[in-house]
Amino acid sequence: MNSFSPIRASSQENTVLMRERGEVVQQQSVASSSVKAGVELREATVRFAGDSGDGMQLAGTQLTTASAAAGNDVVTLPDFPAEIRAPRGTKAGVSGFQVHFAGRRIYTPGDKIDALVAMNPAALATNVGDLARGGLLIVDSNSFVKREWEKAGYAANPLDDPALSQFRIIPVEITELTRAAVKDLGLTTKEADRCRNFFAMGLVYWIFDRPLDPTLRFIAAKFGKRPAIAEANRRVLMAGYHYGETTEAVHQRYVVRPAELPPGTYRSLSGNQALAWGLMAASRLSNCDLVYAGYPITPASDILHELAMRWDYGVKTFQAEDEISAVAAAVGAAFGGKMGVTASSGPGISLKAEGLGLAVMLELPLIAVNVQRAGPSTGLPTKTEQADLLQALFGRHGECPLPVLAPQSPADNFEIAVEAWRIAVRYMTPVMILSDGYLANGAEPWRIRDLSEYQPIPVRHPDPDTQDFLPYRRDERLARPWAVPGTPNLMHRIGGLEKQVDTGTVSYDGANHQKMVQLRAQKVAGISKEYPPQPVIGPERGKVLFVSWGGTFGAVRSAVQELLETGYEVAHTHLRYLNPLPDDLGDILSRYERIVVPELNLGQLAVLLQAKYLRPVRSVSKVMGRPFNVEDLVEAGRQAVEED
């Protein structure tokens, strides 16, 4: 028998479907009741994969919104190629978007995927390796023709490959059905084919019982000015949905119940958007205008795009001629009494290093965001990595300390932006935020904040009557006054040359230089005095402590929870403040025998912890352009516990 003709789900398959980790929490009697009743799952992970022109990012974003609207906790992982339109049908051109939704709190986009939508053979080739055994594999069978599978590097039609029998293949003639759904709307074939993603979405929505309304509203809003396109997308979405309902192709639906999230009004928020909104919120909290200067670079450009839409909220944005200009303009804005903000990724941050040094010397508030990507040089520009930590801390000439913060999840960018702003004005210092490609492009439900939940951020500019004004006279936090042009009597000149203590006039004196270097270092080192206590989960003391920072929070937290649930005594502390490190971190480290530090680099925080606390640590490294799998960290945790 040809086992690769369309496979129908059997009840036996249903029992192993989705997760083999026992996460099917309730199994309905598939045999007795309607085959289409929903089986309840704790969580599910779906990935759309297709050509970069197939609208996979849109499909993923819509599934995110629909899942969030269904009350699930959601974590996403967009994955797109560096080329905007690589040759159609090739593996280089495959774009993907992974959505993990659950009826409980989740922290990662999911290791293995439960359902893969492959719009063409190249998408199958590049993604099927992540599909869980027994997972759903939905393919557009119209695109599995010789020409297409040859382009993807297959010698034969991959759907005929026995290896795929471990999955539940659902071949659907998506292209033909899409064309048929829109045939009387007067669309060209090309226009009709552009709606294919909506068919795939409709089918996935049906299988996972997602609400259609958010996407229908999206279609109306997005394509409202082109009624034929709007109608086409609507019809194709519904066609996909009804295909699931009426045909025999899919035998099982799944239900993921709402998660228990803290009460409040929620929305889906991506990391870069959260960062932009956090900056806007901080601007309101401090009553200080935001001047954003940026230069286009992946994956930071969306911050510029988001803020450029927000002039009506009081934001000013400036697309500079280069990265250096962007940081210099931020310095200029800060000298003028506004908050200067610039964002980039590794290559751009390298170019900004000298400008950041100037900001350190001028002691002006400024925020520099590094949305890290895989490097060095151009590296993997659309993939995530955490390899700029030591650059953030030490990548400038001279003794040039600045505070470094890192968000732990996409929505945490909001909180980190507010915190960075507060530190920048309170200590008169540039602050660096280390985001990354995953944190920037990923999205999650965000409880909408009310600004009254935050302390105001006081900003003081000395007034013209200030007695004995000196530009570098310091307050109790060692911050200098932020006197701004336009204030009579306080005219002063500042620059990159070393300054006399207090007066700020140029000084070439060695002893004075030593004092100023130390003052700048002490000022930044003192910031940790105002941190909240460093949180630790798991046993208060014991054998193993995971220490993480930045975007790996979710994977590490999930792994630690799994380890704890399975009887492994491990603790976890996650750092949002990288410089200075929390004052209580040394004490925390001392309470555990083994310290495990997972990072998407070759062990940069590990180097730092060993140098500062003289404690050996185990570095767990991954530099594949993708986040950690929870599984890998669970294994690392087990080993750390079990080894003698």
Binding site: T65, A68, A69, G71, R217, E260, P262, P263, G264, T265, Y266, R267, W277, M280, R284, D289, V291, A293, R310, W311, D312, Y313, G314, K316, F318, A320, E321, I324, S325, A328, A329, V331, G332, A333, A334, F335, G336, G337, K338, G340, E354, G355, L358, R447, I448, L451, V484, P485, G486, P488, L490, M491, H492, R493, I494, G495, G496, L497, T505, V506
Partner: protein, 352 residues
């Protein structure tokens, strides 16, 4: 911003614009003359010191802000136009001056110079051209003449030089002028015109470095030769030069030609300077007249009106903000699009 808005303070003298810092340029440096003229110009304009900011990069000229009793930023090499642009975006109410040199502005910082000019940011860019790197002790710069030997090219420069004003005109400059450090009165006029211009004003000043390239501009400053080598531009007036004002420049095709007045050649045959010409062609043409083939024009080459970047930005900003009667409420933004509510289950339970 209009200069008029700034002219409300009681009159100050040039010395009121001097900071308490000791000036540390080499004795005899051309920078002293420019500093003196700047203070005089600002005093003459009555520019309030607290509303004035000098921004510079790195180099001898870039020490300038320290010597002015205004606000000032001594920045990093080449980046002054970018710092000034950010400052002007944040604070369109300020009078912002960029002080740069031929190394700072035309080599390491050319990119920023180009873009500040083409955006027409309302700043005054003053480029001190001494045709050499002074602070780093004598390397050739982008304006060092071909063949001129320097420390870094002891057998003579192989770098074809560029001309600051040709570059500025090519960058869509709305104001382009040239002055000479020792032509004090003329320089004062040029600085005053630059300050009065709304938009990016670009001024090149021939400035003598006594240590590393003394005499670079002798032909233009020498008492005996300057009337033959320099041509003072005046709007609406023919291009006339010479000790006896008996020579002029006329077009032959699209080339300049020196002619003597008389013998059938009259002023009406000469090119009439028009700094207001919409097209930059004439300004570019003038910027291409080089010694020794031609007298070099000084004065205002071009002065046309175009909306400034900061003005456009500020207007767009005001328009967007005021359309809704003030900056929008963030809460509105946060609630745009799909939202959902998670109920407080505990609160819903009856109290025990």
């Amino acid at each position: 911003m209009s200069i008029d808005a700034l002219l409300e303070t009681p009159s100050l003298g040039p010395n009121d614009y001097a900071s308490n810092q000791e000036v540390r340029w080499c004795p005899g440096c051309g920078d002293y003359a420019i500093l003196a003229q700047m203070k005089k110009t600002l005093a003459g304009l009555g520019l309030p010191r607290e509303k004035t900011v000098f921004v510079s990069g790195i180099g001898c000229s870039s020490r300038f802000p320290y010597y002015m009793n205004t606000y000032g930023v001594h920045g990093i090499h080449g980046r002054a136009p970018a710092i000034a642009t950010g400052l002007k975006i944040a604070r369109p109410d300020l009078s912002v001056w960029v002080i740069t040199g031929d190394g700072d502005g035309l080599s390491i910082g050319t990119n920023h110079l180009i873009h500040a000019i083409r955006r027409n940011v309302d700043i005054n860019i003053i480029l001190f051209n001494n045709r050499i790197y002074g602070l780093t002790k004598g390397q050739y710069s982008p304006t060092t003449p071909l063949g001129h030997p320097t420390k870094s090219n002891p057998y003579g420069s192989l770098d074809n030089p560029l001309y600051a004003l040709s570059l500025a005109v090519g960058c869509e400059a709305t104001f382009v002028a040239r002055g000479i450090d020792v032509h004090q009165k003329h320089l004062g006029m040029v600085l005053e015109r630059a300050a009065a211009h709304k938009g990016a004003s670009f001024v090149e000043i021939y400035q003598n470095c006594v240590v590393f390239y003394d005499g670079a501009w002798d032909y233009a400053t020498d008492r005996d030769t300057k009337f033959e080598t320099i041509l003072e531009l005046e709007h609406g007036k023919p291009l006339i030069f010479g000790k006896n004002r008996d020579k002029g420049i006329r077009f032959v095709g699209i080339e300049p030609q020196i002619v003597s007045l008389g013998n059938g050649v009259s002023e009406s045959d000469l090119i009439i300077h028009n700094e207001k010409a919409e097209q930059p062609t004439l300004a570019y043409f003038l910027s291409r007249m080089h010694h020794p083939e031609f007298p070099e024009p000084i004065g205002v080459f071009r002065d046309v009106s175009r909306p400034t970047f900061d003005e456009l930005m500020d207007a767009r900003h005001r328009e967007l903000v005021s359309k809704r009667g003030g900056p929008r409420d963030l809460d509105q933004l946060f609630h745009e699009g799909e939202t959902w509510t998670v109920e407080d289950h505990q609160a819903a339970q009856p109290p025990e």
